[in-house]
Amino acid sequence: MTDSFKTLFAGVLAAMVVFTSAAVQAEAEAGQDSKAVAERVEALKKNVIRLNRDLFILEEDLLFPASTQFAVFLSVNAGEFLNLDAVKLKVDGDIVASHLYTERQVTALERGGMQRLFIGNLKTGTHEVTVFVEGMGPNNRAYKQAATLAFEKSTETTALEIRIKDRSSDYQPMVSIVEWE
């Protein structure tokens, strides 16, 4: 009977081998199918990206024509002296955007990313933009700073950048607004 158990054991082993080889063969066929689907999905992904691009441009052309378009970006340089928490943006006295940052977003900014905080329309002429930046400053103290810029809106697209920089002279963060040419 020990022999028959051995036979069973051998049978189990053989079944495992058969199962494995059958699985390998099935896997190879399935792999071909998957490859075909993968290639198809890849082509679809490309088309979806292209369509998304076109719709993105169409949306901007419809909503924010170049002659009145006004965009505000935000960047963080280093971020040693300020752990960004929230930002509020005013244009001509009205709050147009506010944002609370997640850790992932702050990391993305600190690595060189730039957030498009606001996009809207402005008439030609002089305007004023003010930003309020909040976060944790040196020694873990709550920190709040504002910056203002008066600028002339022309008939071209206008882009501003809120720059949050570390100032090594006094170990303080510095907020400024600059206009992209």
């Binding site: 199962f19 088309n47 949306e59």
Partner: protein, 674 residues
Amino acid sequence: MTRPVAFIARVFRSRLSALLVAATASGLPLMIGAPAMAAGDAPERAKDPMYGWVLYNYYQGEAFDALTLLDVARERGGIGGHGAYPELVEGGLMLSYGLTREARELFTRLLEDTNSRGSYDSDNEETQVTLTSQVRTQAWFYLGKVFYLEGDYQLAYENLQRVDADVLEYSDSDLYAEWLYLKAQLAMMSGAFDRKEGITAGEETSIESLREALEQSGLWAHYLSYNVAMAEIAAGEFAVAQQNLSELIADMEDESPKDELVAEQRALLDKSRLSLARLYLRDARFDDALALLGALPLDGVFSDRALFDYAVAAAGRGQMQRALDALDALSQRTLFLPWREQVPYARGYVLEQMNQPRKALTAFTQAAEHYENRGEELVTARQALTEENLNARLSFLRDSDEIITDSYGRLRVTPVDFGLSEVLAGEPFQQALGELNELYRMQSLLMQRESQFSTFETMLETRKIQRERRSREARFELEQQQADDWVEAQESFRSDIEAALAREDAEFFMTTEQKALKTQLDKVAATLARLPDDQSIASQREKYQRMKAYFDWTLANDYGVNRWAAQKQLRELDREMEQFRDQRTVIEALMAGDEEHNELAGRLIRKAAELQVLKAQVQEALAQARRILISRLDQALEQQNTELRRYLVASRHAQARLADQLFRASQNPEVAND
């Protein structure tokens, strides 16, 4: 050998997953981020807001959004000030988004371009990618690994071959160890084991040299040793495999891995012991097998397998009670695993060996009932096999509503029904599941975009209404300006001037001052005409005549100047009127039709049609992916069913045999006594 056993595949994947998760956080973005950071430690400032925005999305893992923005930037004239770095970023994004073939072409072009150009050329900074050799070599490594994971071993080999070993070892020793491991895996896949002809001399040397190079790299070396041993078993070289597994176990027992690797090394050690014990069982070395299996923990990953093999070893050694105890312990475990289906049969077998035919008969009867029930369950499960059904058997790791994936788009999923674990561990199943998820995401995005179309139409309509209102206002303004009267007045003025020029009418071109003087002179003349002819009046008339003569002389003298001034004013008026007429024409043309509106409306219609085509294609691909996934699962269930049927037949045979034996024994007391 093409793949290690299921466990090692799982462990290998989890190890890779850990590395890939780490890569998401640092490695892969670092690979892409590094070129931008090559100039210094701090990240380089974006010289184009669009590029900064792309990076913002990229560093958050939003590959689709970042790729869209890059495409938008390209459509609007490209990103300025960063040379070809945006393309390098795009390559990384393509990898993250599963566009591996595209990424390969892009990387190959970029990296080969850099290679061929050699060192940094400051004169041509704008158009070049200046990659450090570390970044280049890591890029090749990641690209190779992507293809390895996709099962495209030829491309994986080609890309891994481009890695500069010295540079990789110097820059990242972990990646270097993984690179050696992948190369060894590829060397093993080169066909030698599949052909069952043993390892050719060259390949052995290659794998051996890679093993030697991996000697100091801990787990990677052990994984490779284990996989080599499995390959040897598959090639029928059991003695060599035994020797290698023994050495591997001894090596691991002597080591004290880092805290984070303790559990992983422990699992590999247990698995190696289990594999070696099976080799001992094969050679009927039951004592050696029992010693090894007895050392395995009862709560480990492989405790179930170890218990079963322990029962086999004990039975082989003739220690049936120990075998039964192990099987009883195993049958108490409720978690379903396909291989454990042999336990009910084995219990009956051991009881029979213990010379307890009645208990054995009961055990075989119960086993047969169990297999019948399980078979029915499997049939029902196969009949009711749907995608929803499948999803209910899987647990996806989620972040809010999104299913979490690794940097290579693979889903983080574990089976709720452990009967699926072996199917799920297979790369094709993982890929099919990943593709299905990608297709659903695309479908959802397209539906979201489709719902935006009505908003776009509203925007367009609003724009049209606003424009019509402005046109009405402009028309009213034009009417208020009485433009036709102005044109008529200009024409009349022109003809008067031309007529005066023709008759050289100096009076016509008089200045305002001259006209005032003439009026005064005319008044004086009229007054003098009414006065009597006396002496004092005569002197006044003479004075008037002198003044009149002087005035006429002045008029004649100023004629040229006055005429020129009038003509100049006429020319200026002509110009103004020309401009006025042009503006009016433009305004009237704008009021009459709206080309921009038509162009936008045309784009909207075209994109709506494109979206519908894409939706249909995604739907079709979804059906295909679903079919593949379900058929794969169905095959797995079918295999389980075949196994069950084998055990059911064996149980029924044993049942019949024992019933017959007991019946004959009851008929013949002598036999019963025996």
